[in-house]
């Protein structure tokens, strides 16, 4: 208790409880954005299927990833286009 007071007096008041809260909030957001490989693969298959209706794409060159920064997260899908399919739909 005396230590605690000393800390307050000297201004070195860094409570570990606050650190815990911040770390937790970050971890929980991060946890929720985690996606497993099989989900990602089936997502990729679905996207390819839809895009293939309109474009001829090089399925070898496809990249699908979840990007995370401190503030934003984004799903990034990159594909080389070989040809546009004319006259569909």
């Amino acid at each position: 208790m005396f230590n605690h007071m000393l800390q307050k007096i000297t201004g070195r008041s860094k409570s570990s409880g606050n650190t815990a809260k911040k770390r937790l909030q970050f971890a929980l957001v991060y946890d929720k954005l985690e996606i497993n490989d099989s989900t990602l693969t089936s997502l990729q298959n679905d996207i390819v299927e839809v895009i293939s209706k309109y474009f001829e794409i090089d399925t070898e060159g496809i990249q699908l990833e979840l990007q995370r920064d401190n503030d934003v997260s984004a799903l990034v899908f990159n594909t080389p286009i070989i040809n546009i399919k004319r006259g569909v739909v």
Partner: protein, 266 residues
């Protein structure tokens, strides 16, 4: 009254699930309900020793779920608390021996005879968890004020919602003086992070160890702070009004009072 099935669960192990189950079950029985507590941690039986009923086991939850015995044979009657019964876990089987269908059937059977069915779920989110929540109407998630237990609680809360069960949370093992000094997450912090309804707050209490040592239910220990907290939680569960959640307090001496005033000014 329609029987209520409440599953007590947590993400992380060792946060006090079994103690909570025993205490809430005993307290609900003291309030005059017919209560059965079920140990669903197949292979790691514990609720029986916490309740001091380990010497009286003949049949277990696997026997009952798989129709090898009657409810009256599997449910052990507590001799100290009227209307409190225990259905122990099996110690020799593994978790795959039960199916959600067999658990649902068993609970339907128990609902005819009891007011409350309190299920002690195993830690984690494997098969045993699925079985435990299969027949539950309500759930209480236990966590302690530490980062890992809260993170795991969040995961379990998500799974409960996904199964259409709205969870409430009990924060266990609160050390009021550490919360006051800012070195322990307060229950407000935890509710901020988890966004879930609060069932109650339980302080750290040495009596829990003593109660487990002797097999005497915590809620029967005079002066146990944790025991009293569980009594209040049970009363609230039981629908009693005017039992507000009590925030554990540090019995203040002179130094603490000065220090408290000091930290408030900041």
């Amino acid at each position: 009254m329609e029987a209520r099935t409440i599953v007590i669960t947590s993400g992380k192990g060792g946060v006090g699930k079994t103690t909570a189950t025993a205490s809430i079950g005993a307290a609900l029985a003291i309030e005059g309900n017919r209560v059965v507590v079920i140990d669903m941690d197949i292979g790691l039986r514990n609720l029986d020793v916490v309740l001091g009923l380990e010497n009286r086991i003949v049949f277990n939850v696997v026997d009952l779920a798989n129709e090898r015995c009657k409810v009256s044979q599997a449910a052990i009657r507590d001799r100290r608390i009227e209307n409190l019964f225990l259905i122990p876990a099996s110690q020799s089987d593994n978790k795959d021996v039960l199916t959600t269908a067999s658990v649902e059937r068993m609970v339907a059977l128990l609902k005819k005879e009891f007011d409350y069915i309190i299920i002690d779920s195993p830690a984690g989110i494997e098969r045993g968890f699925e079985n435990s929540i299969a027949a539950a109407d309500e759930s209480i998630v236990i966590c302690t004020p530490d980062v890992s237990s809260i993170r795991d609680a969040d995961r379990v809360i998500g799974l409960l919602y996904a199964n259409s069960i709205t969870p409430k949370i009990i924060v266990n093992r609160i050390v009021p003086q550490m919360v006051a000094s800012g070195d322990m997450l307060s229950h407000e912090d935890i509710l901020d992070v988890l966004s879930v309804e609060l069932a109650g707050l339980v302080p750290m209490d040495e009596q829990v160890v003593i109660s487990t040592n002797t097999g005497m239910p915590l809620v029967m220990q005079n002066g146990s702070l944790a025991g009293m907290a569980f009594r209040r939680i049970a009363k609230r569960l039981n629908g009693e009004k005017d039992i507000p959640v009590k925030v554990p307090e540090y019995k203040t001496g002179m130094w603490n009072r000065i220090s408290k005033r000091f930290s408030k000014k900041k």
